[in-house]
Symmetry: C2
Subunit: 386 residues, 2 copies
Amino acid sequence: MSEQSFAPPERLLMGPGPSHVTPRVLNAAARPTIGHLDPVFIAFMEEVKGLLQWLFRTSNRLTMPVSGPATAAMEACLVNLLERGDKLLVCRNGVFGQRMVEMAERIGAEVIVVDDDWGRAIDLNKVEESLKANPDTRVLAFVHAETSTGARSDAQALATLARRYGCLSLMDCVTSLGGIPVEIDAWGIDAAYSGTQKCISAPPGLSPVTLGARASDVIRNRKTPVQSWFMDFGLVMNYWGSEGPRSYHHTAPVNALYGLHEALLVLREQGLENVWKRHAEVSEQLRIALEDLGLSFLVPEGERLPQLNTVRIPDGIDDAEVRSRLLVSHGIEIGAGLGPLAGKVWRIGLMGESCRSESVQRCRDALASVLADTGGNRSGERRAVV
Amino acid sequence: MSEQSFAPPERLLMGPGPSHVTPRVLNAAARPTIGHLDPVFIAFMEEVKGLLQWLFRTSNRLTMPVSGPATAAMEACLVNLLERGDKLLVCRNGVFGQRMVEMAERIGAEVIVVDDDWGRAIDLNKVEESLKANPDTRVLAFVHAETSTGARSDAQALATLARRYGCLSLMDCVTSLGGIPVEIDAWGIDAAYSGTQKCISAPPGLSPVTLGARASDVIRNRKTPVQSWFMDFGLVMNYWGSEGPRSYHHTAPVNALYGLHEALLVLREQGLENVWKRHAEVSEQLRIALEDLGLSFLVPEGERLPQLNTVRIPDGIDDAEVRSRLLVSHGIEIGAGLGPLAGKVWRIGLMGESCRSESVQRCRDALASVLADTGGNRSGERRAVV
């Protein structure tokens, strides 16, 4: 062991998360730790809840950060909303839809899968057909912004379908929240979870969730206990709730919550509409720059996420070598492909504080240099072909 | 909402955790966030594992921090080691034994409970009788240092009993690790979990776990999948493991891990034996000071934890008022009683960096002043009675 303090290298984080965390947020998280049952901290928890309600655009009382990564929040939503034998319809067009399937199977739910190509939005017609064929579906689960592919689906339309066919909607908005519009109340989303390390630009480790009245009713009327004690929202809300005396459930991650609070204040100051606009504009700059290098996008226009840009790796280019050179020689992290897309795509993130014109410029220049070094002037070749 | 950065008040943390986190550790946690799959970060993860092995005094390969509070690690150990119908023996002498019972019931385990009085160590004879009567017990679970009562049990003897009767030992060492000796390998403990916010003095949010070969074998030979995907050690170890390529499981809480790493370096520099000695000595100073105030201990001598001192609230003293005055007027947090001990005891922590002679002095003076204000000169009365 080195026995030395860890000195992280300087990186421009342009992968699928974590995104850049500003010194302001890091410094907030480094303020003195106080007790999680301190009245001052409890008032602070109320503020965090209020800021999350603002960000989710909801008045849901049950809105709070889960004390764990988004994977824990995903599972928490599933274990609370589903009982053994309940039917769940999962839209699967990437890694995270598949993850929901695996979790739900472990709960003993009956899982119906509607598959779409990786890199495409969820096909609403197929979902509606499946809901018609499965009228006893309890929950329709989908990923708003697939972090593994960069595809954006129509969350509002999916929530409307869920209502029409009498089931709850559960939305993964890990990568969308804070980058593109997420409208929990206006869209009628029943349950949603996110993460702190994408467009919120706080350190990874917490995961905001929100549940509406219909979802809360389902949980309240369960016939069996939630299989996880740690994730039981009934217990968690006795700790995070504002009604009556709080009961101890676990020790809240005090400093991580300071960081999240500060990152949410930053978003308030910037204004959500401005933040969405910045993501759209800077992503357009990136599109132009990447196409100029001869790179093409996996996801069709109109289904692309501004905060996660997935480009095909040109023939003859060594995926790992390019990413390694970007990282080591240029200090830039981009993401690899996952699952069937491994070795075939790069995922270039423009999330939260990483979403700046300077990031585009640095990434473009570095990528041009590395591509020229590793595979000849691909840009010229491609342009000739196209 | 206040719309302002959160400025935590100055507190001397002498409750049951979190304990004082030094600026050195807070500053380490505030270093720039890098990607969780960055090769530099992966090397850093190996260092964290090595430091945890050192602290647990084990060579267990499966040693890592769970990305969640100790409650998540408790549940992670139970869901991995137990399958539906498996018999678990839980020693219950406080809140955390009870919590294990509740979690195991949700897993569908057959739970045998051996009860002891709150405030007493676990009775080895009763455990042995129960193991004899239940030869098909798969796991013997116990709390080494009961945070709800301040009682210390004989972990080595319990682990020996588990071996003798052919079951695994699962130890909660949340409050013991880093405060009193914890010897995973020398005692033959099969599985254990802890927390960062007690004697390690890192911010709350992570929970170190370690599993030995026998526990790993049990997990490897399970007939059914672990009911939690997030907590499945098989999947988690593909992420934290050092063999073969890492597979993505969740995004590690990067900055929290920086803080844990630094706190572990501090312990290395101080030396574990010195740290244990400090806890014993400072606790003895506290005992003298509290007895001088006329306060008496819940836990009999010989079964007391130095890092968590539980004293009876004198008759006629308003529990909540005293704690509130200590907090508001003196900036000192002490802990309330839990469950049947609510209103009957205070829990005064001397954990990690909170365990200093200065803490004892400040706590003694403040308590003397508050007790004099709220209930007359109790100290004089008690001394007269005793």
